[in-house]
């Protein structure tokens, strides 16, 4: 009689998993003894960042972002680049998560400029770095290239703008220096190119295929001592690869 859906949790063994409210021990805490706790279905899987639509960027901002990542990792004879890989989508999804507001970082004031050895002391979080940075980028382009926004420039001009930002030579108006904008953009583009495709980038494992990284494989015992021999299997991601679907 297998018409039994697994809607009830199954508690195993002599686990004492006590959530004590009021009374003796802490309410907001977990008191554990007996066996290590275990419950069916318990997992902390990542949430796939799929689907269409934008979670943070305006469509015009996103268009500029796509043009930017397309220069950082271009499509060329080696294969697709960051735009095809979905790096702009990746960045959009990252903005919607804890990274977008630097939620995990120490963002308490006072913010005082320090030495390079003391690390970033900027109060700007990625939301601000991208929003103000993209606006400042276009303002800079218009001022430098007779009224043209970034997306209207040709490839060589776009590269020149990026180089100027990278070196800190471009002067951005507003709270976000050009170099800060560029560094975050480059960091996130690389992340998007090589992260698991579930995060919105590295579509079809383009980035992994470029370098030959087999992905989330977890067992190489059969190849560890095969010195100097290329690894034969295709990459696989957390949500699988084409061979997982029966043909």
């Amino acid at each position: 009689m297998s018409g039994y859906a697994l809607t009830r949790r199954y508690f195993l063994g002599s686990t004492t998993l006590t959530f004590l409210f009021g009374g003796v021990a802490s309410a907001g805490a977990r008191t554990l003894n007996g066996q290590p706790p275990w419950q069916a279905f318990t997992a902390e899987p990542p949430t796939p960042q799929i689907g269409n639509g934008l979670l943070f960027f305006l469509p015009s901002e996103f268009t500029t972002l796509e043009a930017l990542v397309a220069r950082l990792i271009p499509a060329d004879d080696l294969g697709p680049g960051a735009k095809e890989a979905g790096c702009a989508t990746f960045i959009d999804r990252q903005m919607a998560g804890s990274f977008g507001t630097y939620q995990r970082f120490y963002m308490q004031p006072p913010f005082v400029n320090g030495t390079p050895q003391q690390g970033t002391q900027s109060p700007n979080v990625p939301h601000v770095i991208y929003r103000a940075g993209l606006a400042a980028l276009d303002a800079y382009c218009r001022a430098t290239y007779a009224g043209k926004a970034f997306i209207a420039l040709d490839a060589a001009q776009q590269d020149a703008v990026l180089q100027a930002a990278e070196k800190g030579e471009a002067k951005f108006a507003g709270p976000v220096p050009a170099q800060q904008f560029f560094n975050l953009l480059l960091q996130n583009t690389r992340e998007g190119f090589f992260a698991d495709p579930l995060y919105g980038g590295n579509r079809d494992m383009i980035g992994w295929k470029l370098v030959g990284f087999p992905g989330t494989r977890y067992d190489y015992r059969d190849h560890a001592t095969k010195h100097n021999q290329p690894y034969p299997l295709p990459p696989v991601s957390i949500f699988g690869r084409p061979d997982w679907v029966k043909g």
């Binding site: 120490y106 308490q108 992340e191 290329p230």
Partner: protein, 587 residues
Amino acid sequence: MARKLPSRDVVIIGLGWTGAILAEELTDAGLDVVAIERGPWRDTAESFNVGYAPDELRYAVRLDLFLRPAQDTLTFRNNLSQTALPIRQFGSFLPGDGVGGAGVHWNGQNWRYHPTDFRLRSHLTERYGASAIGDLTIQDWGVTYDELEPFFDRFEKIAGISGKAGNLKGAIQQGGNPFEGPRSDEYPLPPMQMTYAPTLFAEAARSVGYHPFPTPSANASAAYTNPLGLTMGPCTYCGFCERFGCANYSKASPQVNVLPVLMRRPNFEARTECEVLKINLDAAGKRATGVTYVDTSGEEWEQPGDLVICCAFSLFNVRMLLLSGIGKPYDPATNEGVVGRNYSYQTNSSVQMFFDDKTFNPFIAAGALGQSADDFNGDNFDHAGLGFVGGAGMNCVPTNGRPIQTRPVPPGTPNWGSAWKKATKESYNSAFSITSQGSSYTMRGNYIDLDPTYKDRFGRPLMRLTFDFPDNDIRMSSFANDKLATIAKAMNPRQIVANKTRSPYTVVPYQSTHNVGGAVMGADPKTSVLNKYLQSWDVPNVFVMGASAYPQNAGYNPTGTVGALAYWAAHAIRTQYLKNPGPLVQA
């Protein structure tokens, strides 16, 4: 007002390696133990299973398993002339969090410090004279290698370390480290299968007269059942070691090697997501009465206890002592006081090699899979005329090929564009690095105290770290890097790139999480916080575990010695302290 809970025999702060070891030992002795951990419960199948553990963005880049700076961090400056500023994003070092602590996400490189390391000042003075030490504030530990040997052995058997002994009871063994201190027994597991890059390194190192051996590894080379009856699986060389939890029970951790047995004991309780704010003292300040902690709803609780054992990460042990008023805080201006004194780190460098004709498969790796050579570590070589003391282990342990962070390109490669893409593709599989992991000797200006400006979310002052590399260590590291280059040349790559240690120390790029010292052990209460049993000189019912006890750092990963000291201290508590609570060493 904190609500008071029923008293326990032992209160342990933090449930990582040392917390688990002390809890297991003391519950075995029949004591009633509660461990209070500020992070969450973590377990293999739920927290880092094969379905989602291999996620570089989540764990290696966004640092899911680590302490978040928003939760706790430090301020930093290089020297006393600067104002310390917050480490807003961890870079240089990554403190852990949660049950298991760094034992969950370490690489698993497991060493015994050398016999001379434990009596460093005496040894160097004997060999080279006091002038060789100069103004370094290095100290003897107050405990010897020989005293610790049985406890190194115990930790290695509990953790299932894979390796080959080089010195068995004084007899040098083929295939092991000929420089190591004498061992009473072999490793519990044989060395791992070697991949290509470490094999090349070993051949090259041998060809120039050095003595390479398999890096002692907590990534199990075979299935293993430890003395507590807990079973490890064999490492699968997945390349998701450091920063990640192990999904198949093959990296030694508290979860795999201690906790299931500990949790079964009715006299043990773990409380997670509770942060200890301070250790409480009696009116005279000479006896701990327990701890005060806060839970996630902000409620404060007082947990009384007869014995308090500080088992947090080294940095946070020091801060706990400062916040609790245990021991006199160190003042570099007067050189007086002890808490925060003698902080040190690790002095690392690397040599990168690019080949044309080789495939290394860098993704086939483990955190401690590789080869090491100790020829220029510690005082294993004659320092006469060199102008520095200390040394470095030379290591070829290429732990991963995870492409967000591991994408070697030759110097001069642009950071983006088609040229970057081409160089990345070409170098990914045909380059690797070898590293020197060097000693970090202490000096007066390198210390920890409390910051005057910045606070944590409870309003307590953050820790302030003042540190820079001593000139001695820069010279030592340069020397070690040159030796690395000698090995690199013997491998005949297309290009060799030497990356030497540079001053000033910066907290931005990752270097090592081997922060040690600040609550050092020693024979003299004027220059140490703890006696040889890791017991506080000032408050005898407080013990402080961990690498915060190291008076300076050697050229090795600290964990193996941390484990040995934990078993050593547990033994002292069980056989001496419990019978007669009080100072175990007369000051």
